[in-house]
Symmetry: C2
Subunit: 273 residues, 2 copies
Amino acid sequence: MGSLPREVFFVSDSTGITAETLGNSLLSQFQGQFVKHRVPFVATPDIAHSLAADITAACTDENVPIVFMTVMAPDVRDIVLNTPAITIDLVDYNLQILEETLGHRARRDRGLFHTIDDADRYRDRMSAVEFAIEHDDGESIKGLGLADVILVAPSRCGKTPTTMYLAVNYGVRAANIPLLEEDFLAQQLPEYLRAYRKRIFGMISTPQRLHQVREERRPNSPYSSLQQCSFEIKAAETIFQAHDIPYLDTSALSVEEISARVISTLGLSAAQK
Amino acid sequence: MGSLPREVFFVSDSTGITAETLGNSLLSQFQGQFVKHRVPFVATPDIAHSLAADITAACTDENVPIVFMTVMAPDVRDIVLNTPAITIDLVDYNLQILEETLGHRARRDRGLFHTIDDADRYRDRMSAVEFAIEHDDGESIKGLGLADVILVAPSRCGKTPTTMYLAVNYGVRAANIPLLEEDFLAQQLPEYLRAYRKRIFGMISTPQRLHQVREERRPNSPYSSLQQCSFEIKAAETIFQAHDIPYLDTSALSVEEISARVISTLGLSAAQK
């Protein structure tokens, strides 16, 4: 096959995040090289004409670009559809199905779900982010009672990115607490956490992955040794099982997936709904 | 019409974020009430059968549920497709188009883009989140030279959530710096920031919105008065224009949209690509 990399455009009248995420999911089902371009905010015919010229310029006989598109306005959409590219329209056909089902016409105006934060949602996310910063890495145990979730894990298992993801994407108030040597030796949750058992979610990793991540921070230290990593993970599992706390091996998961599992396991209602 | 709220299911073999986001975008084009359920990790026929029973139970003569689905495996997908609900399959038809275009079969295995963080992407995001926490709200001006972007704005214009969103979703190293009274009076960027002008992105709000947000923090204070908010926004605009810094009124935008605009304006390459 040895074919050229294929040009791919993710085109949206809003941020382009949805077109890009779904487009990448679909492309991940195929072999081949792709050169990807995200083109957000294609909201007027002028912008669309200029984009259409770029797409057309990228077309050759052997290589027709692929376009993933989430654009609501028909006049804008048609300009992109008229290029020689293969365009996967993620909107129009689905709107037609919904029109039939719901029995009335879609507005077809720009105004994607993501575009406007209503004041309540904004406030939830802002205060969740502030809460997460205040309660990162056991910084403060005051206010733990206000947490929607408390992530507990050995150091470097991914608590902090997950905490921030939950806060900024879902408005979930997340605190995170590292397990320490004294906890591993006692094989118990720290005393002050036990009252919040129902809101605790545990994280572990594999010894190999944890070793690798810790080595980057403190090379050749006892802290990052494979033996220490293995000990901490085993002890953390014992603690979680003893207190009946749900937990997850995060070593091969994305922050998105860890967050989704935390939310569905603890039955949190996400502000993003 | 006065019809019943319509049941909606977002069904995915992964996190369900894409099905939910695109589904909500499409539904936002219609009037009517929707009762929404996100159902992630539908990855086996067993789970799919149990979900199919729930969907079928939600069906009445007047109210057929709507399902938005991102499921790769045909055996799992078919179980959901066989319920009486209207199912919008966001995957299969698009995979068929891609198969024709690319000239080979899609794998159709679970393994969505989001599922696995490769080690590099994980490291980028982790270190970006740590950078963002260290450099939140002008906490530290050491290391500003390492920032991909420095958000500058009056207090409460949304710097912190945007900083965290950029870090955790895109692995972009973002710092944020509040403009202070002395900056407004001087109508100049603080001296130490000028070297980084090309990486600065400014944010403003409307006086009304800023007043409302600040009132929640410090009611009836000079800080939150409409007059002060109006003064700071005007002075911030003067500063941004004087230094030729791109800026945005964030008052009606979501964190996602602000972040996408920062990335496209500064030409940042997002780790999420």
